[in-house]
């Protein structure tokens, strides 16, 4: 009999619930997006975010069960993101998960948001060989993670200033495009020349898998300031050149990390993984290095609960359950999430 896990995700913009069987079959994947609300405010408003989660979550869970054609009694566990993220938002999901587990007498599984993004890769291709390297890129994260095994995820590189998705959002703003910035830049970039505007690539030291996007952001601002003064700005060229600069660094760092750690595969995840230019660049480069590349479809790259349920399934197999006293941790690190027997209480 298959193991059904209910996943819950409320760490940031999205209120999401999903039912996944055996960590690989998505029976339902419901995302009540708050993007429309946030677009009006131009970003994430914490108070609005928690309130919306509270209003949307029960409905999302009910829809997830209905779409999957299962009832509460069929669930074997509830997996929930308990960090990193906005504390108030995380708590809404965590409290719902705890209530369900208490009532249904099934185990509670707490999952790290970054871990969940990586498991979107295993959700679509459960036979991804270990060890692999994952590149998780979103508005809040630019993490390169080495995965030796299911219980051994280790952060080996991260941004030293701005996350890649944040750079997309901020550059979109100076270009006068809307929120969210990623899709807007990708659309505009299709009409531009990626080599038209010379922009810096911060590769940092040779032996690091860290990244930096703050200098690139500033370079775009400087360029626009100059170009607008001189009355010659081609926004599509700027968008294309910026996108190419981000992708080049991300791809180079991810492939270098895979090579250095003897990885056999590369998993791309997180909201920015929906960017077509990045996907293609990574595929091209990784193939040359003989790496298998796993890129989940966009719906599993942006925040969703199916990835949480998938990650939860593997913790379920290990008997890695959380006590009902588990807490939400805004700045939760991967290291904390994979310490043996160390539940946050």
């Amino acid at each position: 009999m298959s193991v059904l896990v209910l996943g819950i995700e409320t760490s940031c913009d999205e209120t999401a619930a999903a039912v996944v069987a055996d960590g690989r079959t998505v029976l339902s994947n419901v995302v009540a997006s708050q993007e429309e609300i946030h677009r009006r405010f131009g970003g994430v408003v914490p108070e609005v975010a928690s309130r919306q989660h509270l209003e949307a979550l029960n409905l999302a869970i009910a829809s997830a069960l209905a779409e999957a054609g299962v009832g509460f009694a069929d669930l074997r566990a509830v997996a929930v993101t308990h960090g990193p993220g906005l504390l108030g938002s995380l708590l809404v999901g965590l409290m719902a998960a705890k209530s369900l587990c208490l009532a249904l007498e099934i185990p509670l599984i707490t999952v790290n948001h970054i871990e969940a993004h990586i498991y979107a890769g295993l959700l679509v291709e459960p036979d991804v060989p270990f060890p692999f390297v994952a590149l998780v890129v979103s508005g809040g994260h630019t993490d390169i993670v080495y995965a030796a095994g299911h219980s051994e995820l280790r952060l080996i590189g991260q941004t030293r200033d701005d996350a890649a998705g944040e750079a997309f959002d901020k550059v979109a703003r100076v270009l006068g495009l809307g929120y969210p910035g990623g899709p807007a830049i990708e659309r505009l970039a299709r009409e531009g020349n990626p080599e038209a505007v010379p922009l810096p690539r911060a590769f940092l030291e040779e032996d690091t898998f860290d990244t930096s996007f703050s200098g690139l952001k500033t370079a775009v601002v400087n360029y626009l300031y100059r170009a607008r003064r001189e009355g010659r700005v081609n926004l599509a060229d700027v968008a294309a050149s910026f996108q190419a600069a981000v992708a080049e660094v991300l791809v180079a760092k991810a492939v270098a990390a895979a090579d250095a750690h003897g990885a056999r595969a590369l998993v791309l995840a997180g909201g920015v993984a929906a960017n077509g230019y990045l996907r293609e660049s990574l595929l091209k480069r990784a193939r040359k290095h003989g790496l298998r590349v796993v890129i989940p479809p966009p719906v599993l790259c942006t925040d969703n609960a199916a990835m949480v349920a998938a990650a939860g399934y593997y913790r379920f197999l290990r008997g890695d359950f959380a006590p009902l006293t588990a807490n939400a941790v805004a700045g939760l690190s991967l290291e904390e999430s994979f310490l043996k027997q160390s539940f946050k209480e």
């Binding site: 200098g215 626009l224 805004a330």
Partner: protein, 194 residues
């Protein structure tokens, strides 16, 4: 690092490049105190070093309000403050997560109001508890949430210098005696030859 008032141009000559955006609607309104200190930085590292010198002086409950356009160096300056507070870990942009906490000689609470709609949103994050706590608070894009900031705060504005991409003018304003004390101490610290 040079500082002094005489040789530097007035505010109107510095570009607030980003002023077409509604994100900066409150810019200017927050920077209300008299200018206590103006200094110039010629590189990101110099900006970081200035932040570090400030960080060494800060005491529990101090609140630093940062203002400046995208890419002006707010996060860079905060990285220096963290260094001065003895924070060992990496300090990254809090834009997405809104607040990050670090542990140093004192705790550092790093806020970013870029994505907030107004002061109520900052309050909703529990900012008062942080401001009155035992750590030091640094708030980026402070102009967006001015009404939620403590009355006595150190305001720091980072401005681009036209025609010089690396250079920044950094202005310190104090809105109360506590902040004024910090600036006096910083001035003594920056004075050459001491």
């Amino acid at each position: 690092m040079r500082f002094g008032k005489g040789a530097l141009p007035g505010k109107s000559e510095f570009c607030t490049y980003h002023n077409d955006s509604h994100y900066c609607q409150n810019l200017g309104a927050v920077m209300a105190g008299a200018i206590e200190l103006e200094t110039r930085s010629d590189s990101a590292e110099e900006t970081r070093m200035l932040g570090e010198r400030l960080g060494r002086l800060l005491q529990p409950g101090d609140v630093v309000a940062l203002e400046g356009d995208l890419g002006a160096g707010k996060t860079c300056f905060t990285q220096g403050v963290a260094r001065g507070l003895g924070v060992a870990g990496r300090v990254t942009s809090p834009t997405f997560v809104l607040i990050r906490e670090y542990q140093g000689r004192l705790p550092l609470y790093h806020f970013d109001a870029y994505r907030l709609a107004g002061p109520e949103d900052l309050l909703a994050l529990g900012s008062d508890d942080y401001f009155e706590g035992c750590g030091v608070s640094v708030v980026e894009w402070a102009g967006r949430v001015a009404a939620a900031l403590p009355r006595d705060r150190l305001e720091i504005e980072l401005l681009r210098v036209p025609g010089e991409e690396e250079a920044r003018l950094i202005r310190f304003r104090a809105t109360g005696p506590r902040a004024k004390g910090i600036v006096e101490e910083l001035k003594r610290d920056l004075r050459p030859g001491d």
